[in-house]
Symmetry: C2
Subunit: 271 residues, 2 copies
């Protein structure tokens, strides 16, 4: 869906709640980056109760790639009032993906027709929150200044296995000068629920990345002279684990089309 | 002065106050690293009142290399009770240096004979405090494991000028794996009064260091494969500024022979 610049600007001014209302009416199905600024956006994973216990444990054992910021209070419940006024997870995300046995089956705009009484919703923090804090501190985020998706890479850093869930960590990469990387480590350490501090910087081969210019997901960004690649644990990690563990039914958000909550990013800061 | 291993071990068990007593009696004139563990040790600068104002401003404008943790309450006062029971700055440091017009004149064991009514004492935090926290976290500190002085380098990072004081920043270097460097940045950020977070890592030439294997002060240490040099602002910085600004009279501690205070390192943590 393409908007006129004027309409896009108007939608960017909407509150998180108002934005969710037009998403619910299928009047907005775009990426949510840059909308409802200052509010936490979340990755979504919806699983049958039978698989939810293992996934919850996977998140708790791998908090850096899978930082859990909310979940439904009981199976079948599609309201997430703790995260925002009147959130209905069946309709309030701009795009969903249906996976069956680890295979992507459909991209859809709402999941009302697919809803079941045994579904458990997980909401995981996303990097939009810490990028906002870094930009506010004057640090350039290359994927934003180049208007690209952040480059992401599979690594050889194994997640801790939880029941049927296992896999390697996926990382996102932002190139920076060392002095900005030091500041970014300080700022991101305050936000453990949105991936926290970087997990690596410098030589990509040390974490199993062969070619920094060929990301496994997202786009390539420019790495300037004197800049160092800085790597954060990434929310694509649980999607990789889901592909590997092959639950018969799973719903996720479509990449970039996040759940916009009413929670202020600043409230995620631990200090 | 060389002690038997047995005597050295006994002295290492002494409280900070008891250690200062034997220093005062000239029964201990050694480096203080490893003694009175858990207590803050400080760099000493003593200047005539006429020069003290400029130096105080230099410290306040350059807190990373010159983190002020205490000073005498009035000119001529040689007691520093805020930093420890009964501290007499004229006698309680194991070794002093006398500088005249920026030139080293003598190394002496006490400065009672040189004391004047116009002298102002400054105590600056030192890296021993954060090294202790890093080791407690399981990070290897190469200069300690190799039993060497930390390597230090002049850089091209200018300090802010304050009155007659100016100069470039001196840095200390500790090689680490990236994951340990990230953790070290987190830990040291909690300790701004002992140099705080590193100011650079990686390529030494970016801060004007031509040869990492030839430190300007201290000893060379091993940098292992996959390790990155991590650079902290260093307490030698004010000594370099003193050499440059050439006050007619200045006393400092001798390198490695610090004032041992009664303050717990942990109390310096800001969070």
């Amino acid at each position: 869906m393409l908007f006129s610049q004027e309409k896009e600007q108007k939608i960017k001014q909407l509150s998180a709640h108002a934005l969710r209302q037009i998403i619910r009416r299928n009047e907005f199905n775009d990426n949510t980056s840059g909308y409802a600024q200052g509010k936490v956006q979340g990755n979504i994973v919806i699983l049958p109760q039978d698989w939810a216990g293992d996934f919850l444990q996977f998140c708790q054992m791998n908090p850096k790639p899978c930082p859990l910021i909310g979940m439904s209070t009981m199976p079948g419940d599609f309201l997430l009032n703790d995260l925002g006024q009147d959130i209905d997870i069946r309709t309030d995300v701009p795009g969903y993906r249906l996976f069956e046995y680890g295979q992507l089956k459909h991209e859809i705009n709402d999941v009302k027709a697919l809803w079941r009484d045994d579904l458990v919703t997980f909401v995981l923090g996303c990097s939009f929150s810490f990028e906002e804090s870094l930009i506010a501190d004057g640090i350039e985020i290359r994927n934003i200044s180049e208007n690209k998706n952040v480059p992401m890479y599979s690594t050889n850093i194994a997640c801790k296995t939880a029941g049927r869930f296992s896999g390697d960590t996926v990382v996102s990469m932002r190139p920076m000068l060392a002095k900005d990387a030091i500041r970014a480590i300080q700022i991101c350490s305050r936000f453990p629920s949105v991936h926290g501090a970087p997990i690596h910087f410098g030589d990509p081969s040390l974490i199993g990345i062969n070619d920094i210019n060929t990301p496994d997901y997202g786009d390539r960004v420019t790495i300037k002279t004197n800049e160092i690649p800085v790597f954060w644990a990434c929310g694509v990690t649980p999607q990789l684990a889901l592909t590997k563990s092959k639950p018969p039914f799973c719903l996720t958000h479509s990449p970039g089309k996040m759940l916009v909550t009413d929670i202020n990013n600043s409230t995620l800061a631990i200090l």
